[in-house]
């Protein structure tokens, strides 16, 4: 095949072949991701309600969006949820990884136990979680039956606390995955460095705080990106656990966007909330990407 081509054409082919190989993927992404983002941006400026309409009406949807109490609640909830979720998952993941790295007997059993929640969708676990958190059916009831009468755990019914139950379930799902990332990071640290540090008389504590955890910086970043995108996209979790309730106390931007676009027939407002969400995602991801990509070579 190659020999049948004249020398010059062959060279050109070899030159552009890699780019040719990449182009279908790039084409798909440009169309189905960036094309659709532009489309959504356009919809946010139209009077679309039930199905897309193409009559522009300016920024009215954005004005409506910021006038909605639900939207403000959703943003506040995202702040609470996002910060707690990312912090707890990272911390728990790191601690469990360090503990598991202590030549633990039964690591082969514990690891999949920590990891498996990531394999399940909330369509599967939603009901179980809902029961577990329900004071009349779940933990509180069980404790009462076991004789601990004063035990109280009714957060899911409490407007001010319900968002924290969402955090509990979300941490359950992803902290094991973060643990695996940290564990992999710990195992990947060059043993020479550790030996040298030990020879210098570094204690176990300082071995972790001074040498190993700083080495995990790239893992922290990867974990942050994975968790941040899960937090912003969090949808089925809320639907399964509280469906946005009590009242609308656990509304998140993703649930807001879905309900305005698809069940309230205000597609324009839904699209404008999607644009804001994308802007938020970009403000987190783009600096990360920039730093990541510049650093390398």
């Amino acid at each position: 095949m190659q020999h049948s081509l004249p020398g010059k054409a062959e060279a050109t082919l070899r030159e552009i072949l890699p780019r040719l190989v990449l182009s279908p993927s790039l084409f798909l992404i440009l169309l189905f991701v960036y094309g659709f983002i532009l489309y959504t941006g356009y919809l946010s400026l139209t009077d679309s309600r039930m199905l897309p309409s193409y009559d522009l009406q300016g920024l009215e949807n954005y004005a409506r969006l910021w006038g909605q109490r639900n939207w403000i609640t959703a943003l506040q909830n995202l702040a609470i949820f996002g910060i707690l979720y990312i912090l707890i998952c990272s911390l728990l993941g790191l601690v469990l990884a360090i503990f598991l790295d202590q030549k633990i007997r039964g690591e082969g059993i514990l690891r999949p136990i920590y990891l498996y929640p990531m394999a399940l969708s909330f369509i599967v676990t939603g009901t179980a979680w809902k029961w577990f958190l329900d004071p009349g059916l779940g933990l509180e009831n069980t404790m009462h039956l076991w004789g601990w009468e004063s035990f109280s755990f009714d957060w899911i019914k409490d407007r001010n606390m319900a968002i924290y139950t969402v955090v509990i379930a979300a941490v359950w799902q992803s902290s094991g995955f973060v643990m695996a990332m940290f564990l992999a990071g710990l195992r990947g640290i060059d043993s020479e460095i550790l030996k040298a540090a030990q020879m210098d008389g570094a204690g176990r504590w300082s071995l972790y705080t001074r040498i190993m955890i700083p080495q995990l910086r790239p893992v922290f970043l990867s974990a942050f990106v994975v968790l941040a995108h899960l937090a912003i996209k969090a949808y089925d979790l809320v639907i399964a656990l509280t469906n946005g309730g009590p009242g609308r106390a656990t509304e998140l931007p993703a649930t807001f966007m879905y309900s305005y676009t698809f069940t309230r027939n205000q597609m324009g407002v839904g699209a404008s909330s999607a644009v804001i969400m994308l802007a938020m995602i970009a403000s987190i991801i783009v600096p990360y990407l920039y730093a990541e990509l510049r650093e390398r070579r």
């Binding site: 309600r49 199905l51 409506r64 639900n70 329900d134 019914k157 009242g247 309900s259 069940t263 205000q266």
Partner: protein, 419 residues
């Protein structure tokens, strides 16, 4: 030889999988999008499926459950946008009008004229089954939403009789509460809160007020003192609900009444299925009566099969489907199972139980008197956007975020900004 073996093995497998019901390509078929996906209601649909198969039309089932059809409506949007609309879609209330407005629905006029639908379907239902004077949907049932379900043992024990007015209701609830039961079994989900709200509006302001506030969304009615009383009454009812109500599914609330933990539940007639399934008998183990103060009126929601525009080759099957839905035998068979009453007023009531017979009689009476109204809570009074705006206020108030005066104000604002 070898091929023959393969084919036979293949056929065997297909038969074993239960797919043997002839899938010849030339055969007529209908695709039906619905959310009756489990238990009795899905079984009831099978009556329809069998009926059609008897006429040589195969039934391609497209069930999508979740959120009282919300999920299915999302799917429908995707399907219509991709130019792949189903033959028929189960739909409720204003969704039908909204879709009709998009100009994507079929036309059933010819069939309706032939079978005389106009004479047997209540006018209030026709408001949804017809658009611009054309038939676009075949109504399957009428659920009425202003029912009270009561545990008869508790009522007997405390010597209570069916309350006929708001004050009698409160007196009864007080007694039930004092006896140590949960007075009102309720699940704190927006649509459940709104279901009670509907009934309280009707009981407090009467049919005219319901029409003005919930259907015409007249700002004066929404902001009136009567509406303030409605919210105050909602707060009163909140006092009879247990602390653990938030987020509870309606059927778990029903179970509380069944298990003699709670006195009454305010819920649509689908609750009956739960009682029957638990082996309870109407009038013997449980009572069904209208929400006190709404005895002469019925708030309803009605499931309809909306027919979409399809290619000419599929229209014949579509008409057969519509005709089968409207046949009195299906209307009776389906609604006996579903707990609702037929959408046609000329269906014999022999097969129905005591509650069902009562429901049919009251529906016919309300239709005559002009007191049959679409339920706001179930999307039969106002468009989805307005409905959800009302939900927000009702739920927030029920959960203690607003007092009655603020709630009235918020209601007026929310409705205005959603329109």
């Amino acid at each position: 030889m070898f091929l023959g073996k393969m084919t036979r093995a293949g056929l065997g497998m297909i038969a074993a999988l239960g797919l043997s019901t002839s899938i010849a390509s030339a055969q007529e078929s209908v695709e039906v999008l619905h959310w009756w996906t489990a238990g009795g209601e899905a079984k009831a649909l099978q009556v329809l499926k069998k009926d059609l198969e008897g006429q040589g039309v195969s039934w391609n089932d497209m069930p999508v459950a979740g959120g009282g059809g919300e999920q299915a409506m999302t799917v429908l949007r995707a399907r219509v946008t991709s130019g792949n609309a189903p033959t028929a879609v189960q739909m409720l209330g204003f969704d039908i009008k909204d879709w009709a407005g998009e100009g994507v629905l079929g036309n059933l006029d010819e069939l309706a004229a032939k079978e005389g639908w106009d004479a047997v379907v209540p006018d209030a239902l026709k408001g949804f089954s017809k658009y611009d004077g054309h038939w676009i949907a075949a109504p399957v049932n009428v659920h009425s939403t202003n029912w009270v379900w009561a545990n008869k043992a508790i009522f007997d024990e405390l010597g209570l009789k069916q309350p006929g007015s708001w004050d009698e209701l409160i007196a009864a609830l007080d007694k039930i509460k004092a006896a140590g039961y949960t007075a009102v079994a309720h699940g704190g989900q927006a649509w459940q809160d709104a279901t009670i709200f509907d009934a309280v509006v009707m009981a407090t302001g009467g049919p005219d007020f319901y029409q003005a506030s919930m259907i015409d969304t007249d700002p004066d009615a929404l902001g009136s003192d009567t509406m303030k009383t409605v919210f105050e009454r909602m707060a009163t009812l909140r006092g009879y609900v247990d602390d653990n109500f938030s987020g509870r599914d309606w059927n778990l609330a029903t179970a509380m009444v069944i298990n003699k933990e709670a006195g009454v539940q305010f819920m649509g007639d689908w609750a009956k299925g739960e009682f029957l399934n638990a082996g309870k008998v109407p009038d013997q183990d449980f009572l069904c009566f209208r929400f006190p103060g709404t005895q002469d009126a019925v708030t309803f929601n009605s499931d309809q099969f909306v027919m979409f525009k399809v290619g000419e080759d599929r229209q014949d099957a579509q008409m057969k489907l519509a005709s089968a839905v409207m046949s009195p035998s299906f209307q009776s068979a389906f609604n006996v199972v579903k707990g609702s009453v037929p959408a046609r007023t000329d269906v014999p009531n022999d097969a129905f139980d005591a509650c069902g017979k009562k429901g049919m009689a009251e529906l016919a009476a309300a239709n005559k008197k002009g007191t049959l109204f679409g339920s706001m809570a179930h999307g039969h009074a106002v468009p989805a956007g307005v409905k959800n705006a009302m939900y927000d206020v009702i739920t927030a108030h029920f959960n203690g975020e607003y007092d009655a005066a603020t709630a009235v104000e918020e209601l007026v604002n929310a409705v205005e900004s959603a329109q």
